[in-house]
Subunit: 471 residues, 2 copies
């Protein structure tokens, strides 16, 4: 129960300090339309590669995910580039969990990248999309026996997550009469630990390889790591390469194991998204201070990342005099985040209840969960207008459903269309059917929008249910 | 990037202080099996009303939601009780969004409670389940025009969320040639504001009623509020009754409006769940201090809540000399939270990486999101064993997928079955299909488990997709 005195003190403080804090922190710099392949026509309508977004929404409904296939192609191609002066680059396995939309995955595969999967479902999906085992990497701490069986059976690369998995995987391989192609996930000092991988530092990673060597059902071909922490600079890539290749050299020296594949996982940051820091969020909530936009120039480009990784690995291999392994990467957000947007509409405006007007949207944490914790560029469709402060809330009837506590946007009216950028990472997999059906997904290609996932129907939402009055 | 010195200092501190902190805070008191209608047989196997939970899981797979129909019936009946000496009690409209499982909703409706819906989908579902307009309350800040049209058309009670909705609702009523039965959602000082309701204090609520009076398409019959803050004691109920009935008296006095229905929303706390406080969470994460179990004796029973509400309203009506309105309530968690559990399994154990062993479960934030922020009783199937400290993590391959940083549980082995209690509020609606299919739901009734929602299949997960190699 909030005390009325405390609330009143807080309100007064806010009045006193708020204006100054707001002025001091009006430092937001919007990202440009061009960053995302967008433009405006003479009426101010948002246009993606020739298509008016408003007309795409009229055809397919709001809210709506829109995939920009040209941007997707560019980013896939960037991962495929071979750094100047190098013989080979990296091999790319897209992290399915980031944005598991079959049409997107198909396009990624058609342009050469494979699949990184963490579950039986994802492995099944990769098979449905026509991939053979050599184009699939199986990861994760919680695979079912069936997921591991299927992976071994088709010859996928199975990255062992932790020591306790070794005998289980060996047993499954034996029951199939096949050898499992395996690597061990190792944790470096700078990266994620916890449920993921065996630490190099504690000798457990080394012990794991020694244990694997004793199992004739296992064919040790790889090493796997994943930084976890978002990669923004070449230094982090270089350190990762050193840690992993140094360890691979020790495996060769002490165990006679040659690592044919060094898999560096994902973690390359998406350039146009920034995780909010806690202080900025608090200032935004209390004093309406602007949140900070992402600064793309501070993030490694895909090309620079690939170059740093390949050069780092090759230098390290020369140093330790070991053969250069194939280099695998498993990008998620770096590949798809910026190539998909979420279009949504203002359902209603509500002036009371807070200093800012509430803009009630048809998209909230049900389909745009990441917006709570990350800065995403938002564009408003239509002619330029003066800016007004809004609180952006979603439809699901809880105060938790707040996408932004305070955001200045061109003056809104009910029905206005908003484009939330960088909706290609963790929007779709974290989507729920909380009171509202999940949106359709269209792919814009060659100047037309093709429906690739239809909107969820009410019937879909109860399709798995048994009840007396079945519709 | 964590500094190695800081980490080492933190580790030492943890060693020094951790033991003492742990001992000082080993204050957890488990809730009993009987609280949830459970027992154990001689082998230690968990039994729900005659059914071994392990055999239910063998038949229907893990993870699995299990509805205890007897407990559900008891709680519905509790809401229907008329307090001693009163002529009438409350009328109950279940909050669909809390646990939108058709078989559960059907059972609730068959025992007399109606539906509280916040979207077109939920309204459609209530109609599918055979409810007429008089048994439906339509709420929420983000209803589509179609949701409002349908509600008016069938004669549901339409609670207006904010002033700006009035003309929209009136317009839709006019287009149908019908009068809309409406109330206004008001915000009391102690309750939620923000996107919900017009505040009584600022006169906006009063102004809203004045505006509604001018619209001949609107038939003002109700007032609506929702505390939002969890109700644990009769004092909060009494204050709410006073605020709302006092305002209703003013409407009658100054506008001649008679409120026939006072709708007090939900917010009654579930007795066996407790929201973690931030300090306790931090102590748990850093020093493995036990988190505090819910204390059911500190929460109002349903009967006491109904009695406090009815007596509060009736006393206030006498005081203001206005007729006693019908009293509506819209329980969510108080009705279903404790009547449903989530059964899940240990996929694997991982000893490295933290002081506690990681127990990797087949259920994480993908289907048990509330466990991150709330204390839920967890029972382990099987014979009694010594207790060990675990970190409980889910399957979705992110450190965010941690259900408990430190929890002492009987020593686990892969395949062990866990029963997470109070899975009947916000588990199902917040469920995602993140890399893993959503579980089945069974209802235990008369000693047998009936499948009421089948497990999601891989085909279901891509049913809405269009791609070249459609399965």
């Amino acid at each position: 129960m909030p005390s009325p005195i405390a609330s009143s003190v807080r309100r007064s403080l806010r009045r006193l300090v708020g204006g100054a804090a707001r002025r001091a922190t009006r430092a937001r710099r919007d990202l440009s339309l061009e960053t995302f392949g967008l433009s405006r026509d003479d009426s101010g309508a948002l246009v993606l590669r020739g298509d008016q977004l408003a007309s795409v929404v009229r055809a397919h409904g709001s809210p709506l995910f829109v995939v920009d296939s040209a941007a997707l192609d560019e980013r896939i191609a960037a991962f495929a580039q071979v750094p100047r002066g190098c013989a080979k680059g990296v091999e790319c396995f897209y992290s399915y969990k980031t944005n598991p939309v079959p049409a997107v995955l198909e396009r990624i595969h058609a342009r050469g990248a494979g699949a990184e999967v963490i579950s039986e479902y994802e492995l099944w999906l990769a098979r449905q999309l026509g991939l053979g085992g050599e184009r699939i990497v199986s990861n994760g701490p919680a695979r079912s026996d069936e997921a591991i069986r299927m992976a071994i059976d088709i010859g996928a690369l199975v990255q062992v997550n932790h020591c306790e998995e070794i005998s289980r995987i060996a047993k499954i391989a034996r029951s199939l009469g096949k050898k499992a192609r395996v690597g061990m996930r190792v944790a470096t000092e700078a990266g994620w630990g916890g449920q993921f991988g065996e630490p190099i530092a504690s000798e457990r990673a080394f012990a794991a390889y020694r244990t694997m060597l004793l199992r004739s059902e296992l064919d040790i071909v790889a090493i796997h790591t994943h930084l976890g922490v978002g990669i923004h600079d070449a230094g982090a890539v270089d350190r990762l390469a050193r840690d992993v290749i140094g360890f691979a050299a020790r495996l060769r020296r002490e165990l006679g194991v040659t690592i044919a594949i060094a898999d560096f996982g994902g973690s390359l940051a998406a350039p146009t998204v920034a995780r909010h820091d806690a202080v900025a969020l608090r200032l935004n909530r209390t004093f309406s201070a602007d949140l900070h936009a992402a600064n793309p120039s501070r993030t490694l480009t895909i090309e620079a990342y690939v170059e740093a990784l390949v050069r780092g690995v090759e230098a390290c291999c020369r140093e330790h005099d070991i053969p250069r392994p194939r280099i695998f990467v498993e990008p998620g957000r770096a590949l798809t985040s910026s190539t998909q947007m979420l279009l949504c509409s203002v359902t209603s405006l509500k002036a009371s209840g807070a200093s800012a007007i509430h803009a009630i949207l048809d998209a909230g944490i049900n389909i745009a969960e990441p917006v709570r914790n990350e800065w995403h560029q938002i564009f408003v469709d239509g002619p330029a207008r003066d800016e007004v402060e809004y609180r952006l809330v979603g439809p699901i009837c809880t105060p938790m459903d707040t996408l932004a506590w305070s955001m200045r946007l061109p003056r809104l009216a009910p029905g206005d269309l908003l484009a939330i950028m960088d909706a290609g990472a963790y929007f779709v997999p974290f989507s729920t059917s909380f009171s509202f059906p999940q949106p359709a997904i269209v792919m814009v290609e060659d100047g037309s929008a093709r429906l690739v996932r239809r909107r969820e129907t009410f019937e879909d939402m109860v399709r798995r249910d048994t009840f007396t009055r079945k519709p």
